[in-house]
Symmetry: C2
Subunit: 222 residues, 2 copies
Amino acid sequence: MDNLVGVIRVLTTDDPELLAAHGRIVEADYGLPTFTRCIPDQPRGIYDDESERVALPKIVALGREMVSQGATAILVSCAADPAVAELRSELKVPVIGAGSAASAVAVSLAEKVGILNLTEGAPGPVRNLLGNRYVGQDSPRGVMNTLDLMTDWGTEAALEAAHRLAGSGAGALVLACTGYATIGMAAELRRRMGILAVDPVRAAGLMAWYALGAPRRKAGES
Amino acid sequence: MDNLVGVIRVLTTDDPELLAAHGRIVEADYGLPTFTRCIPDQPRGIYDDESERVALPKIVALGREMVSQGATAILVSCAADPAVAELRSELKVPVIGAGSAASAVAVSLAEKVGILNLTEGAPGPVRNLLGNRYVGQDSPRGVMNTLDLMTDWGTEAALEAAHRLAGSGAGALVLACTGYATIGMAAELRRRMGILAVDPVRAAGLMAWYALGAPRRKAGES
């Protein structure tokens, strides 16, 4: 069976470019075909406990539907890993959450890891998986949502927060919002500060690629 | 600067095939060039606290030397991650340990993770990074070292141990010895039991590939 990654966005949008943004990163970096769906009726996405609670059954339903449509892996593109555990208990295909994937990459690359949040408070799975490698978290001052992040001042505020985290001794940063993927923050942090920042969408794509046996497939083709 | 992964083997050998075995897996799966060195005077490798203690300064010296010879990342090919923390504090290039890399991949793919050891007792970094996703560990009965593992009975004993771990609810297994890479145990477990097993050498290669920006480099080439 050919690989096909089903990407679930937790932000309701009818903009095809915005919808496909994360799937395109996975396709470009790992050569994995993707298709994307978003949950209904949440134009502001997941931003607190209540918005996460109402999103959970929608994500489970979408994941189920996408597997019936041919997905051989499901990627939940949100750093809070919403419904990832539920989908794993139900589906037979690999299910990857962007938050746990990013933390996993970070702990395999550094002794001390900081979390760069969008706003205050790191998503549970991100914080939990860091264990005793966690050294601190921070967020860009004044930023309230991903739209703010896409402005020049929002990006500068995020760079300042990353600077503060680097001062705490962090050898790697988890970017704990998939909005950081959209603006290419990991590459920017590496270029401007020389710090290793883990992009949650790219980390999730990496794990999907591994779970689908794509490295061996690639080797078999060469 | 071109990527070049320095692979450190913690088993002293003058057999070029055995020496290069792990580097070849990384080259085949990720297209990363590698070169390999082994520590001196430990033909039995690392198998207890004392053999790990005497190996540490040798690994640090090798890592330092390999960076001076052009390594852009260091991969310590041992599930105990010996000297990984020390090398990270000293070197400017990414340093990856096979044990923490394997655990990191496993926690990003499953809620419950089991550890398949070579003998009793999981390496510290492997166990620590699993946190509360850990559900148990087991080892092949009668196996004392990696040579035993390469026999038919050793492989069968490892499959039986994996069966017992799967019974504990594990959704993924960490193969907590790089000897499992040499015999292709992860592929065998997937084929015969349908269980996801994480190969420590392939997991370490995956993280090196990510840290070196190889996904983006690949995309840039296409």
